[in-house]
């Protein structure tokens, strides 16, 4: 086994015992990244920073080493990293090198982590297939015929890099499913924490009331370790919660006897593939066999989550992305004789933003414009309150966690959705988007391969601030499923 194939927990133990040095581990990842170029997962490499951090980590090895000492990670391009290109996969931020470090990356480095480089993603995290990136498509390491498959999105580079063992873990962000859907498409674990658990400071904003960062890892234990290092109150993010961070790893007891798992009937969609349905039933049986009680529940407003999301997220995006004006950072269009400041804004944004981002900014502008604000934006926010109330009611009834499919299908081919209506692509988020609207924690766990040989995942949704309990449920599901398949190396 090569060192880059280790889990975070495995590497931590090997480093502590002195069987491995952080520098050797980092070198193994850098070599895997080099060989993994066809996956287009890493888009900016930082080997000098990585080796410097690894040498420092080797100097700290021992019993009181920090949680992620010497662990090589990939960082989604949405996180601002000081002095390192941070473009949100957009041409409008071409050349941008932040003068500051995001809170999440600062915390990870404080915990001893090593940064290998920046990871591909959909432009401004808007997409479900990593096909809207200015760097080109990221490619799923899983392959069953001659087609190249999507790793999902928006955290597609993060998912591909972890699944292909280019790094031990990666940061992702999730506004409507952008951690959980790519995790499911690549057979890895991804958790979106409760809104407010992880600081958004220094993360390029998409929809501020929905965005949360989280870890993408090979195992649930690794997710618990990495989430612990990312979480915590940050005075620089006014929506960050001033709550103590529990020891998530210690919560993985494997005991879920007597816990109540809800199965929401509204998630049984028309036309749902039989394989997904069977997987879901199997997952429920696994939790039941572990001593949990399976309860049928109703979340009546589920159907309206996707349309509400596609009002609220573009509305917030149109406001957040107003800052890209060609004045303070990033791209500015070449101007003609006599062009004024409005021409500069319009040309800069037309050149800098890709098609999907332009579409969402315009939809957001429309639903916020005079005369439509109440009909669209306020109505969507009212529906959002009802979606959250659905969850509040089932949790008040004693439900501990909710089990659903993670995605409506396994990974599809790159380019296959090119001629589809934008709304068809949005349907990828149908099982994940409710969780963002309600601010809840949700985790995607790989459970089985489908008939084609591609990974499929299930999602567990937890009570607010109960990531510890949620991860314990995920840990039980992971153990029962025994998913150990890895992609055949073709790259």
């Amino acid at each position: 086994m090569n060192a880059n194939e280790l889990t975070i927990a495995g590497a931590r133990d090997a480093l502590a015992k002195g069987e491995l040095s952080a520098v050797d581990l980092t070198m193994a990842c850098l070599a895997a990244m080099d060989a993994g170029t066809p996956l287009n997962a890493f888009v900016h490499l930082t080997p000098d920073i990585a080796l410097e951090q690894a040498r420092a980590a080797d100097g700290r090895r021992g019993a009181d080493a920090p949680a992620l000492n010497g662990i090589p990670l990939g960082i989604k391009d949405l996180f601002c990293t000081k002095g390192v290109p941070s473009q949100a996969a957009s041409n409008i931020l071409k050349g941008f090198r932040p003068e500051y470090e995001s809170t999440v990356t600062a915390k990870l480095f404080g915990a001893g982590a090593v940064m290998l480089g920046k990871l591909n993603m959909d432009e401004f995290a808007m997409g479900s297939s990593n096909e809207t990136s200015c760097y080109g498509d990221a490619v799923n390491p899983w392959k069953v015929d001659d087609r190249k498959l999507t790793p999902g999105g928006s955290s597609g580079g993060s998912a591909a890099a972890v699944a292909a063992d280019l790094c031990l873990g990666a940061t992702g962000t999730d506004t409507g499913g952008s951690i959980r859907q790519p995790a499911a498409f690549t057979g890895i674990v991804g958790i979106k924490p409760t809104y407010g658990r992880v600081s958004r400071w220094g993360v390029v904003a998409f929809a501020s009331s929905l965005d949360q960062a989280g870890p993408m890892t090979k195992t649930v234990r690794d997710a618990a370790i990495m989430l612990g290092a990312m979480s915590g109150h940050d005075p620089k993010d006014s929506t960050s919660a001033d709550l103590a961070v529990p020891d998530f790893e210690a919560a993985l007891t494997g005991d879920i006897r007597g816990r109540k798992i809800g199965i929401p009937r509204e998630y049984r969609m028309d036309g749902m593939p039989a394989e997904i349905e069977a997987l879901w039933t199997r997952g429920a049986e696994m939790l039941k066999d572990a001593g949990a009680e399976i309860v049928d529940i109703s979340l009546p407003h589920t159907k309206y989550a996707l349309p509400a999301y596609y009002v609220i997220a573009p509305a917030e995006a149109s406001s957040n992305l107003a800052r890209y004006d060609g004045v303070r950072y990033g791209h500015r269009a070449k101007l003609g004789q006599g062009d004024g400041i409005v021409d500069m804004y319009e040309k800069t944004r037309a050149e800098g933003f890709g098609k999907e981002v332009q579409r969402r900014v315009m939809i957001g502008t429309y639903v916020l414009s005079a005369g439509f604000y109440d009909a669209y934006y306020n109505r969507a926010r009212r529906v959002r309150a009802l979606i959250k109330r659905d969850f509040d009611l089932v949790f008040a009834d004693g439900i501990d966690a909710i089990l659903t499919p993670a995605t409506p299908s396994s990974a599809f081919g790159l380019g296959e959705m090119a001629s589809a209506d934008p709304v068809e692509m949005y349907l990828n988020d149908v099982f994940t988007v409710t969780v963002n609207l309600a601010g809840l924690p949700g985790v995607s766990v790989p459970v089985a391969l489908d008939a084609k040989g591609l990974p499929m995942g299930l999602q567990l949704i937890g009570r607010p601030w109960d990531e510890a309990g949620l991860l314990n449920h995920a840990h039980v599901l992971e153990r029962a499923a025994g998913f150990v398949a890895k992609p055949q190396k073709w790259w």
Partner: protein
Amino acid sequence: MSIDIETARRVAHLARIRVDEADLPALAGELSGILSFMEQLNEVDVTGIEPMTSVTPMRLKRREDVVTDGNMQQQVLSNAPDAREGFFAVPKVVE
């Protein structure tokens, strides 16, 4: 609600995104498709429901209204496409 070409032109301008005249019909069609998807929200009875402002019931923190940061002109300007004499430079705004 369907979006006509004139509305598409107006939305593009409000969003400060230049769209070629030839691309406006396709844009209007796409935006109309997305909006008709959103029409489903009209089926929901929202009587007496307040629009959600914050997903977690928390009061925003207060702090003293004092300067806590600053004196970093160099860093603020370092990424500007055009910075001169300590300022961001833009095309002439006032005649």
